[in-house]
């Protein structure tokens, strides 16, 4: 029962608490600030679109937190009410992951924005923080969240059945909330301890076709972070070195712990710059192919009627996953015709069934998926895959484009223009175009914003 402190210097918990406590906006390099703005804008767009009651999980989580009631501290995005930051983050975190357009951090596989941004927005609204504080807290959320995943080793977590984004998310959310609540170093240690006391997330959602519990876990991670930081700020204590020792949190969720990863490169490697924003609301295995295909159709200005044949070449292992899959989001024959028509793949393409649209009826049988041995050799074991797309045009021409990376990969980050266009598309499903532009301006000017409520007020209907 007695915990031995390592004789050599501070614990990793201590180092993280110190980092959270010490990091100030002024220390953030310009490109980190810029990336934080993009991540926040992207997440707000996703949140707005996801708040539509046509997404069942969103409608239900809104209904639940409304029934709980609470102090009107923070906006539930896309509704006309506010509630406690604790329950607003539960609702918004659930929604943010609900339409499959939130980011993922390739090295860790973690979905960070869906947890950390709703947390930061809710707590910042509650405290009336300024834009710089919001940006700093989101950067910190990434730095802590990703390091916890790496320390736990995602492969080992999956082995045990734990969802890295959910388990580690609680710590990332705690870092963001703790910074905004201006916790002291000791309070931050307690907050991390309380986050660890209730961190959770089984992978069992994989067996649930509604996928609702997966999104809920993001909301719960966000809620846990706000709860832990709020309690710690009130004087509630937690285990003082949650990551270490015989009963440490890293060992609880992983059989291959690497505690050193917790505090590696703090202050020099900003994880937010390494995350990938998501361009298409469909299976990751289709993203490189969509990049190649959209390059062809826009370069040659092709419409669906101009196309005779589409061949999608992907690595051998990936082919069966996207070839006539029952899930619309994983079905190349369904996705490519829609991309030819709309030049984007957005949630409505997945959540609504377009199989009887004339373009899909005509083109679907003309899409073939080929497993290509050559492509299998390019990046063995990578999550996203290279693709070659060949398009035969009515009248005889054909075009072929190879895309080694998918948009959102670290090698192929989304440009500001791409982020803006995704944001506008998503946001305007809920708010008027003028309001969407206003939100965009405020987010790009976050470093000048004195009260975050100017932003969050625009997210309420």
């Amino acid at each position: 029962m007695k915990e031995k402190q390592s004789d050599a210097g501070p614990t990793h918990t201590e180092k993280l608490a110190t980092y959270i406590n010490d990091l100030s906006y002024g220390q953030l390099p310009e490109h980190v600030v810029q990336q934080a703005k993009l991540v926040i804008l992207d997440t707000i767009g996703v949140l707005l679109a996801a708040s539509s009651p046509r997404y069942q999980a969103s409608a239900m989580i809104q209904q639940l937190v409304q029934a709980f009631g609470g102090s009107a501290e923070a906006t539930v995005v896309g509704t006309d009410f506010a509630t406690s930051a604790v329950h607003a983050s539960l609702a918004n975190g659930t929604m943010a992951d609900n339409i499959e357009l939130d980011d993922s951090h390739p090295l860790s596989g973690a979905h960070v924005a869906a947890v950390v941004v709703p947390t930061a927005l809710a707590v910042a609204e509650k405290t009336g923080a300024d834009g710089k504080a919001l940006l700093t807290s989101v950067v910190l959320g990434y730095d802590v969240d990703v390091r916890v995943v790496l320390a736990m080793n995602p492969a080992s977590m999956y082995e045990r059945g734990f969802h890295p984004s959910a388990v580690a998310g609680a710590f990332g959310a705690t870092a963001a909330a703790g910074k905004l609540l201006d916790l002291s170093k000791d309070e931050l240690k307690n907050a991390l301890g309380l986050a660890g006391s209730q961190a959770s997330g089984l992978m069992a959602w994989e067996t649930d076709p509604t996928q609702m519990p997966k999104s809920l876990q993001m909301g719960i991670a966000a809620r846990n972070g706000v709860t832990a930081a709020t309690l710690a700020g009130m004087g509630f204590s937690g285990p003082p070195a949650i990551f270490e020792g015989r009963y440490g949190a890293i060992r609880a969720f992983s059989d291959q712990p690497d505690l050193e990863a917790l505090s590696a490169d703090l202050g020099t490697r900003f994880e937010i710059t390494l995350t990938g924003l998501k361009k298409y609301a469909c299976c990751r295995f289709l993203h490189a192919a969509l990049d190649a295909f959209l390059q062809i159709v826009s370069e040659w200005d092709l419409g669906p009627d101009d196309i005779e044949q589409i061949v999608v070449r992907v690595p051998v292992a990936g082919a069966p996953i996207i070839d006539n899959n029952e899930l619309l989001s994983h079905n190349a024959q369904y996705i490519m015709p829609l991309a030819a028509r709309d030049r984007a793949i957005m949630p409505e393409h997945i959540f609504e069934d377009h199989r009887t649209d004339p373009e899909v009826v005509r083109l679907a049988p003309r899409v073939s998926v080929v497993g290509d041995e050559e492509l299998s050799k390019v990046f063995p074991g990578r999550f996203s895959e290279p693709a070659v797309v060949e398009v035969a045009v009515v009248g005889g021409h054909s075009f072929s484009v190879r895309s080694d990376f998918a948009s959102g990969d670290p090698e192929k980050q989304l440009t500001r223009k791409e982020v803006d266009s995704k944001f506008e598309r998503l946001a305007t499903t809920i708010v008027p175009a003028q309001r969407a532009r206003q939100i965009m301006e405020i987010v790009y000017g976050l470093d000048q914003l004195t009260d975050i409520r100017e932003l969050t007020g625009l997210l309420r209907l």
Partner: protein
């Protein structure tokens, strides 16, 4: 959307069928009587912990008041109501704050089931205006589910992967308890239990938190999370359909190192876990010290000794039990401290855990004269935590006594009169003796109470 198929989820299906059909009318008289004992003991334990000197209780009460919520459920000892999830978080935390409450004490799979579940039944029955019968049935069902999941995950190690089993398995019982009071049907009940598993949590790392705030907190989290799971399921939220089965990502690999599916539904409906497995605590400390206290206090009483007569106390326990209680920095788990207080003051009360009595020179002096011995001889005994105590007096006399089964254990139970005396002792620390008796008599006839809100009303501050 696929639904639960019995074939895909045989164990989950068995448990859910049992839960859905569960009815007060099927319960034997003896089961109802045990459930009332749990209720009485837990209400007493929550009341005593609602006093201002309990830091965790005060802070958690302040926290739920701060975040606010629908005024539907009582926070014990407070003058406000809040949402069911908030009330259960606060009452669940208080239930384990004084560490004096009864629970499942079967040596195979002990759990603080009363502490997790009584607050759930209380909050949901108040919210749903349920009668005493539904309350009692919900409590029995919650204990049943927690115990069976605990059994199915049981290993030879107490805390596999550093998880606090009471909290983790309590999530399932809490969801079942709440779902019963909501009257959920099969599909929703399945989802409630699945959702409970998705975010089941609770680390044993609280042993490093000397303030003991996070120790009871993990219990309150389980109570609250269970309710949230049931409410979401009621709204139609999806959940994994086979949470108790050996699916790819299962609870056994996540929270245990063993899987005993056969124990899950063994004698289901014939054997109730609440029977023969309840332990009630005469002392507010770790169960491992009970036999030692029984022996010490018996010798003192039989020989008419007071503290000043005693020169030395030798406290022998099983060899493998000794490390847990050997001068543990947590006072409630510190055999030398507990025995010294009892020897000096003739009893051990909750306040003796809160305040360090070693500020009293007599206790301090006695503390140095208690010796704990891990004795291989005792390992031969069938009893799980036997003790042998030897006392040497200043005038050279020697006394010794062995106790196999402690007071309050199923083998040596506290009788109704002892339980009532304990309740009055605890309750009157915060309420009048008249009110305490009113509460006691109401619980005594709980099956005839038309609305449990009547009980809740007596628990307000």
């Amino acid at each position: 959307m696929t639904n639960t198929h019995t074939d895909d989820a045989p164990y989950t299906s068995r448990i859910v069928d049992f839960c859905v059909d569960f009815d007060f009318r099927q319960l034997p008289e003896a089961v109802i009587s045990e459930a009332k004992k749990v209720t009485l003991d837990l209400v007493g334990s929550i009341l005593v912990a609602s006093a201002p000197q309990y830091g965790a209780s005060q802070l958690i009460g302040d926290y739920v008041r701060l975040i606010g919520g629908e005024e539907e459920c009582t926070v014990v000892g407070r003058d406000f109501k809040t949402s069911c999830v908030n009330a259960a978080l606060a009452n669940g935390t208080m239930a384990y704050a004084a560490d004096i409450e009864g629970g499942l004490i079967n040596p195979q799979a002990p759990q603080h089931a009363g502490a997790v579940l009584t607050p759930v039944a209380l909050a949901m029955a108040e919210r749903e205006k349920s009668d005493g019968r539904r309350f009692l049935a919900a409590l029995v069902l919650g204990i049943e589910v927690s115990a069976r999941v605990g059994e199915a995950c049981r290993t030879s190690r107490s805390y596999p992967h550093s998880f606090h089993t009471s909290a983790v398995f309590g999530h399932f019982g809490a969801a079942a308890c709440a779902a019963h009071l909501l009257g959920l049907r099969k599909r929703e009940f399945t989802n409630a239990l699945g959702l409970a598993g998705m975010n089941a949590t609770g680390l044993i790392n609280w042993v490093t938190d000397l303030t003991e705030h996070s120790r009871p907190y993990v219990i309150g989290v389980a109570s609250s999370n269970g309710i949230r799971s049931a409410l979401l399921a009621e709204l139609g939220f999806g959940g994994p359909p086979a949470i108790f089965d050996a699916t790819k990502f299962n609870i056994y690999e996540a929270f245990s190192t063993e899987m005993h599916l056969d124990r899950l539904a063994k004698d289901l409906g014939d054997k109730y876990w609440i029977m023969d497995n309840l332990g009630f605590k005469p002392y507010p400390c770790c169960y491992d010290i009970f036999t030692g206290l029984d022996a010490l206090l018996a010798i003192m009483q039989e020989q008419g000794l007071v503290g000043q007569d005693i020169k030395e106390i030798v406290h022998r326990v099983k060899k493998d039990r000794a490390p847990t209680i050997d001068n543990n920095p947590i006072k409630s788990h510190n055999a030398q401290y507990i025995m010294a207080v009892a020897a000096t003051r003739g009893s051990i009360m909750p306040d003796d855990i809160l305040e360090d009595r070693r500020s009293d020179p007599l206790v301090r002096d006695m503390f140095d004269r208690v010796r704990l011995v891990g004795d291989l001889e005792l390992d031969k005994k069938a009893a799980s935590r036997p003790a042998a105590v030897e006392i040497r007096t200043n005038d050279g006399r020697k006394f010794s006594k062995s106790v196999d089964w402690p007071t309050g254990s199923p083998q040596n139970p506290m009788n109704q009169a002892e339980l009532e005396a304990k309740f009055l002792r605890l309750a009157t620390t915060v309420t009048t003796s008249q009110r305490a008796k009113q509460i006691m008599s109401l619980i005594e006839r709980l099956e005839d109470v038309p609305d449990v809100a009547e009980l809740a009303a007596l628990l307000c501050g």
